[in-house]
Each structure stands twice: as C-alpha cells, then as structure tokens.
C-alpha cells in the first residue's frame, strides 16, 4: 500500500523555475516555467509572474505529471 505524507502547507503550489529574460508584454524581468492544466490539456508554459502573459506554451504529456507504469516498462 502506498503511503503519502500529509501536506503541511495550507495551499500547495506547483514548483516554478525562474527563467532569464523580460516579459515582452509588460517588461517585467520576472518569468517562470511551470506546468498548467488549461483548455486543451496540460501545457508547459513560461509565464510572466507580474501580468501572467504566456511567453511560451508547449503541449505537455496528456496526463501531465502522471506517468502510467505501463508506459515505462
């Protein structure tokens, strides 16, 4: 049986990786890369953390972070 630790934080956030560069829309040097679930499925995006404009948007695996066991053996 799996055992997952109970989260201690009140809100869980996806891990965001800082990205070099400035937002082409608002000019803020505050870009980050992470995965989002949006219309059309999962996407790997680079978004401005000030205005939330998507600088990059690439399709992620259909099931997001979930990797079914059968696909790896």
């Amino acid at each position: 049986m799996h055992s997952f630790p109970r989260p201690q934080e009140r809100h869980l956030h996806v891990e965001r990786t800082p990205v070099e560069g400035a937002c082409p829309e608002c000019g803020a040097p505050d870009l980050a890369a992470y995965r989002v679930l949006s219309e059309g499925g999962w996407w790997d995006v680079v978004k401005c953390q000030r205005c939330l404009a998507s600088v990059r948007r690439d399709p992620a695996p259909p099931l997001g972070s979930l990797v079914p066991l059968g696909t790896t053996v």
Binding site: E25, C26, G27, E39, G40, R50, C51, L52, A53, S54
Partner: protein
C-alpha cells in the same frame, strides 16, 4: 446622394443624381481603409451631395481575422472568464467532437487574451446595493499593470452595473488618471445597460475595439470629404441597415461593427412599399452565398442581438438574414458516391469560374448558365469580361463521374436553385408564414438568373426582379431613415403598482434621446417597446409595442394584453394567468432622410414586344429549346415576355423559364409568374 459599401475585397460607391445612377468600384485597403472611400467619392463627385451613407464590413472582418488593437477587459473579481465561456452553446456538428474549441476561447483566438482580463475587487448586488466596495488601491495596481502592457483601450464591465453604475464610473475615472486620455474606454452601463453579463461584456469589448478602429477613420473621412466639396450629412449604417449620423454612431460604435446584407432587405421594403405589397422574401444571390430574409407587413424581422461568429454575440439590433452556401461562383464537384454537388465552396473572385479564363479549372454555377446559353459570352458584366465557353465545357467534361455531360450541367443549375429554395422554405417555416402569400425579391447580380427557377419548387406568389438588381443592396443605403434608439434593463413585474416605475425609465430614455437628436426631433414621435417574459421564464419575447401616451395604472393592462398577443403570435400559446415581467425597455426615434425615389410610370396595357434575337437553350429540357432575348431597357411598362426567354441588362440577366411569363411593372420591376397565374 452617395452610398458606399466597404467590403473586404472591393469598396462599392453608388451615386444617385437627378435620377441617374453611377457606380464605381475601388479595391479596398486594409492599411488605409478610408483611402478607397475617398477615391470612390472623388471619382463620382460629392459636391452638392446631400448625404453620404456608409456601410462597412471593416469592423466584422477585423474581429473575424483578429486584426485588433490591444485592449484590456476589467470586470468584477472572479468573473474574467465570462468572455471565454460565451453562452456555452455548442454547434450541432461539434456536439460529439472532443477537440472542438470555441473560436474566441483561450485555447483558440481570444478577443482579449486572458492576462489582459483582470479582476477588480468590488461587487454590486442585483438590487443595486453594494456587497463589496470598490477597492481603489487594487484597481490602481491593475491599471498600472495595463499601462506597462501598453493597452490601447479598456472595456469595463462589472457585475450588475446595469442596475447601478457607480463602481463602473469611478473605475473609469481611475483608468483615465492612470492611463491618460489617449486610451479608449467603454463602460457597459453606458454602452449597453442590459441584463445578462456575457452579452453586456462582449458588447463593451467590441465597442471599445470599434472606437479605436473607427475613431480616426471617420474623422479623416469627414475631413477629406469636406475637402472634396461635400457639405451634406455623413451617416453610418448599423447592423439593421438603419442610418446614424457619424458622430452619433461613434457614441456607441459597436452598432456599426457590420452593415451589409441588411441593406438589401431595406431596399426590398422600399420597393414593396412602392409596389403596394408588404409580404416579401428577399434573396440576395452573390458569388459565394445566398442571403435570405423575410419581410412581413412591410417590416423585416429584427433580432435583439447580432452574432459576429459562433456564440460571439453583441446587443445590437440586427436584421435577421440567413445564408446558404450557393451562389453564382459555387463550385460544382463530384461527391464520393459519384453524384454532382454544388457548393458550399466557391471559386471567389480569383480565379473565379472556369469561364473567366483566369486559371479556374473547377466548374461553377456560372459556367453551367453559360453552357445553357443563359449568359451571353460577349456581354457579361457590361461587356467588360469575355467568357470562355470552351473552358467552361472542359471543366464540366473533366468531372470524374459517369453522369452524361448535359446532365451534369443541368444538375448543377437545378441543384443550386434547390439549395436556395430549401433555405427559403426553412426561413418561411421558421417564421410560420405561408409562401403563397409572399413575393420573392431576386437581386444580387446572379439572383434574376437563378431564382425564377425557384418558382418551380416553391409555391411563391411571384418573383420580382427590381431595377438594377446588381446594385440593389447598395441602393438600400440610400433608401433608409436615420434611426436613433436606446434601451435599458430593469426586471419589473408589470402591474398597476409598478407602472410609474416603468414609465420613469421610458421618460428618462426619451428625454436623453431627444436631447441627443436636437431640434430635428421636435414633433416626431418616440416609439416605445419592451422585451418581456412570463414570470419565471429565462428568455424574452422582444419588441412588444406600447400604446401611445403615458404608462400608468390605467394603461398597464393594455400593455400586458399586448404582451400576451405578441407571445401567442410567436409561440401559439397564451398564458394570461401568469404575470408578465418586463426586462428590457426600448425607445426609437425615426428621423426621415432623403431616399432614392421610386417614381411610377404611367400605366400601360399589355404589349408583347418582339425579341432582339433568339438563342438555343441547352440542357434544361430533354431537347434544346428556342428562347427569346430581350434588352431590359427597351421593354416598356406593361411589356409581357413568355418563357423561355432571357432579359439582359448590363450587370445582370433575368431568366424566364418555360411555363413562366414576365411583365414589366410601373416601377420598372420585372414580375415573373407561372403561366397559369398570369
């Protein structure tokens, strides 16, 4: 009088001076849309003209193609995806398609990208009381962000602002402070103070876009027309093809996002008035499609909304026009089963039908008409374009089907007509009218060539071919009045207790309307109507007319009775025991404008003119038929032409089928009936 129709490809300018019509066509320009209009006006001369009426698809094309300025959308926190969800209607063919996306959704091509749709902390209740005060600091922070993003416009639509606009007005003041006066701003409580937040939001967004697109354009147009010597009135046509002075149009420019097919309907109404008939089916046959609309008792069907693309609706009054993908340029192809099919694809203007000789190899309906002998290869478009019969023949011969050649041509013609007849039937059924009481007005360059054949399929009274059928829609711009209107929402159950409240809404709108229109409104009546519903319904019965005079406890009963009459006429049921709730209240003030006159000629007895020549009508029947050729301008009033025959004019050809008879009316119109009726 001048009318200009700015299309995506061409800008058509029509001028009526001393009863004579002149036309010019100038290629439209995306980068300089005012240029072709001014050029057309210069060619035809605008000195001394009393009106310059302008219709344009510029706004609609910009929205469809997303050639839009960068704007932001501010709404109540938590509601920014209102614009993305629309009404959640899904087209029938997408019901089972998981990959279908709403065309203006975030995953497709949003009108306002999500990062520019920002939530503002505030909340007004539906009764106009404040649930959450406007957080000005948060609003300023959002506006500062928009400033850094260099937006050109801001649409503001807060929840329930149609009931109380305090927060919207304050937010506009803040936006002015932060963004400056150069950024266009629209607020929903001014643009369209109606209930239902999605349509109010989308209308406000389109309004601010049109402010930016039409603002500099119309000022330049006005200035350059004046420089050419024009000192009349510049008017813009709206989605219902009624006219607004250009400065009034720019007050709420979402109304002029599109004006086109409705002009033909208005033109038909005017022709019907002159002929003394109010029951009309109007059909505009273009190169790609046929636009069908209905006029009952001299009034077209008007919708309370206009749909720019699927589910992208705005609160603009619009004439109801249905389209079917069959026209003169419709492609004739072979189905998987080997049968002939027509449309919905079209050859367009380039390369055009095979017979144009511009490289088109797929046959079209125009090619079929040429091979049948209906079209004159040397007299097409006033003789400007020689048609290549051999190219048309080769295109039909190349179709990969076992169907014999002659049958391919005849089937293409008959299928095109059948598609149009089916659409006309749909429109009649949808509105519950009997086509036997209706005349079919056939216009557009290809209308008179194809639509008389619909008499074989439909029990219509007659087909009417107006004078100048190819220019009929453009002439509609010179056949309409100036119409000022306004509307407002308030959910109020109609009863003697609430009559004064509703009357106050009308009185305020009427006062504002008369102020805007100025002295010219003196003595003109303001027509009042409302959209109402049975209490508990979620949809409205629109345009219930109010009786003249003030609304009070004594007259409210008449208003309720009129609602039930309208409801019964529309739905076939009457529920007098259910209270009626008013939703949207409308006022309209019509200012008569100069129009193209229809001057009837003296009546004349029937004559049977000699044909100019004859031709062999191929493929329509089992054997070729000998048919007469007439020139329209040489047919006097009262002239009767028995089919098979063609009546040619510079920009159009009328085809009278065997078993039909055409006669020329006092207005120059051609009326085609079945032989047994005539």
């Amino acid at each position: 009088m001048l009318g200009v129709d700015v299309g995506g490809t061409f800008t058509d300018v029509v001028c009526v001076r001393d009863g004579r019509i002149a036309v010019t066509k100038v290629p439209s320009s995306r980068t300089d849309p005012a240029g072709p209009v001014v050029e057309g006006a210069r060619r035809l001369g605008v000195e001394g003209a009393t009106v310059f009426n302008h219709a344009s698809t510029m706004g609609l094309n910009a929205v469809i193609e997303r050639r839009l300025p960068k704007i932001a959308f501010l709404t109540t926190d938590g509601f920014r995806d209102v614009l993305d969800r629309g009404t959640i209607h899904r087209p029938l063919d997408a019901q089972t398609d998981p990959a279908w996306r709403r065309p203006f959704g975030d995953a497709a091509r949003p009108i306002v990208p999500r990062y520019l749709r920002r939530g503002i902390v505030e909340r007004m209740r539906a009764d106009g009381t404040v649930f959450r005060p406007l957080d000005e600091d948060q609003a300023r922070a959002e506006l500062e962000l928009l400033k850094r993003c260099n937006v050109e416009g801001v649409a503001i639509c807060l929840i329930n602002a149609y009931v109380d606009d305090t927060h919207e007005r304050r937010l506009r003041e803040l936006a002015r402070e932060v963004l400056g006066d150069d950024v266009a701003i629209s607020i929903s409580s001014e643009v369209s103070p109606l209930a239902k937040e999605y349509a109010r939001s989308s209308t406000t967004v389109i309004d601010v876009l049109m402010k930016i697109l039409f603002g500099a354009y119309s000022q330049r147009l006005d200035r350059e027309l004046r420089e050419l010597g024009f000192d009349g009135a510049l008017n813009f046509a709206d989605c219902a093809a009624t006219l607004l002075p250009w400065d009034e149009a720019l007050r709420k420019p979402y109304r002029i996002v599109f004006a086109g097919p409705a002009a033909g309907t208005i033109s038909s109404v005017r022709l019907g008035e002159a002929m003394g008939t109010g029951h009309l089916v109007c059909a505009d046959v273009g190169g790609t499609s046929t636009d069908v609309s209905l006029v009952v008792d001299g009034r077209p069907f008007v919708r309370t909304t206009f749909e720019l693309e699927h589910d992208l609706i705005i609160n603009a009054l619009s004439t109801e026009v249905s389209s079917v993908g069959a026209g003169g340029g419709s492609l004739v192809t072979v189905s998987h089963g080997g049968g002939i099919q027509v449309g919905p694809g079209s050859a367009g203007a380039d390369p055009g039908p095979a017979c144009y000789g511009r490289g088109g190899t797929v046959p079209t309906v125009t090619d079929a008409c040429l091979l049948m002998g209906i079209l004159d290869p040397d007299g097409f478009a006033g003789g400007e374009l020689a048609l290549d019969v051999e190219a048309a023949r080769a295109a039909f011969a190349a179709l990969d089907t076992p169907i014999p050649y002659g049958e391919r041509v005849a089937t293409a013609f008959r299928l095109a007509v059948a598609h149009m007849a089916e659409e006309i039937t749909d429109v009649c059924v949808r509105h519950g009218v009997d086509p036997r009481d209706f005349s079919l007005v056939a216009y557009g360059a290809a209308g008179p060539m194809l639509l008389p054949a619909a008499l074989e399929l439909l029990p219509l009274k007659e087909v009417v071919v107006p004078p100048h059928p190819g220019l009929f829609s453009a002439l509609g711009l010179l056949s309409t009045d100036l119409v000022y209107y306004d509307s407002r929402s308030a959910y109020v159950v109609l009863s003697p207790d609430t009559a004064a409240e509703i009357d106050a809404v009308y009185a305020e709108m009427e006062r504002e309307l008369r102020e805007r229109v100025g002295p010219v409104a003196e003595g003109l009546p303001v027509r009042r109507s409302f959209d109402g519903r049975l209490l508990g319904q979620s949809w409205e019965t629109p345009f219930v007319q109010l009786p003249d005079g003030p609304l009070d406890a004594g007259t409210i009963g008449e208003v309720v009775a009129r609602f039930h009459d309208a409801y019964e006429a529309r739905n076939g049921n009457r529920f007098e025991y259910i209270p009626v709730e008013g939703v949207t209240y409308r006022v309209e003030l019509v200012v008569p404008a100069d129009k193209v006159p229809y001057v009837p000629a003296d009546a004349a007895g029937p004559t049977t003119p000699q044909p100019e020549a004859t031709f062999t009508l191929e493929h329509l029947a089992r054997d070729p038929l000998q048919a007469a050729i007439h020139r329209r301008e040489r047919l006097p009033v009262g002239a009767q032409v028995a089919g098979p025959a063609v009546i040619r004019e510079d920009l159009s050809t009328t085809f009278v089928l065997p078993g039909q008879r055409a006669r020329v009316g006092r207005l120059g119109e051609i009326v085609i009936e079945r032989e047994e009726q005539a």
